[in-house]
């Protein structure tokens, strides 16, 4: 599993989008998620699982993912998370 080298942010706080920030965590911390969303009560569990699955599929661990969601569909959330990881993986 890979880990990111630096904090990185992607996306916008705009309708159907999400602002995603990834921060490196200490070794062994795994993937942690902090979700801010007006639909957290309805979809929070699904979104958090999707974020963890996306990070795992991209091959990363020991990362904290903060998502400020503005109604992003699943694909948009995935795209933002992967883009943030890519940006964070550049020394």
């Amino acid at each position: 599993m890979k880990s990111i080298q630096k904090e990185a942010t992607v996306g916008f706080e705009e309708t159907n989008d999400a602002l995603v920030t990834v921060t490196p965590s200490a070794i062994g911390q795994g993937i942690t998620v902090e979700l801010v969303s007006s639909v957290k009560r309805q979809y929070g569990e699904h979104m958090e699982a999707l974020i963890v699955a996306t990070v795992t599929e991209a091959g990363y661990t020991d990362v904290h993912v903060k998502v400020v969601d503005k109604g992003a569909w699943d694909y948009a959330l995935q795209a933002r998370v992967v883009a943030a990881l890519n940006r964070g993986d550049v020394a």
Partner: protein
Amino acid sequence: MNTDAKSRLRRTMMFVPGNSPKMINNADLYGADTIMFDVEDSIFVSQKDAARLMVKYALKAIPFNCETAVRINHVTQTPFGIDDLKAILPSKPDLIRLPKTESVDEVRLVTKMIEEVEQREGFPAGSINIICAIESVRGLYEVRAIAKEPRVVAIALGGEDFIADLRTQRTQRGIEFYHARSEILLAARDAGIQAIDTVYAEVANLEGFRQEVTDIKDMGFDGKSVVHPTQISIVHEIYTPTEKQIAHAVKVLACYKDAVANNKGVLAVDGKMIDGPIVVRAERIVAQARAAGILAEEGYEDAK
């Protein structure tokens, strides 16, 4: 291999910024024949990485009804084009639009990458095709060879860059595009592919837009690039055949079908001899009428 892709109805190709999920989510609602996700000029350099991933995931996730295209960055003149293709091709867009095309080498480079992805992903050969935008004098001088590359199904005029290259400006009468439009159209026809006209950026000027669409349709263009949903219905209206044209076309096709079925050699409709080009024109009119929703599928069968 890609005969259908060369004749598909493309009256409107609507540009959608590739880094805007809100616009992507709504893109299919307006009835454009093709939606063109843009990761080129509408995307800041600092957002290219995010935009190409947004388009990649959108194409995988959303079952678009219309044709999908992606305008990538230039493959040799920018550091982004190849990465765009690597990210986006596995999501199987119908078309890749090459900007500022100036040589067949660019087209061949992209063709090779498409073929590799089609084989690797198990897509049928010919699933992903190419539309080339001509946006410079150099490109225009190469358009005849570019149009004949086997994956290329259409040539588009990229007008804003082209007039910058000419050192002139946009006019309503379109004199600045006179030669380029003619050359592109002829090259496309010579290669048996389509010609798509440039955008009309004055979104609020619907009358000016209507006039320009009428002009380019009369020239022979297959469709127009659009930048706003309000432009779509105008293009489709202008590209919709009249009732009289449809009635005649339906009759021609019905008689042609009857003649083929019964081995009748010579064919006449309303006293006029019918030959190949007339049948092809009738088929195009019927296709346009169906696309406009004013003729049911297989509607001509009972019209004899």
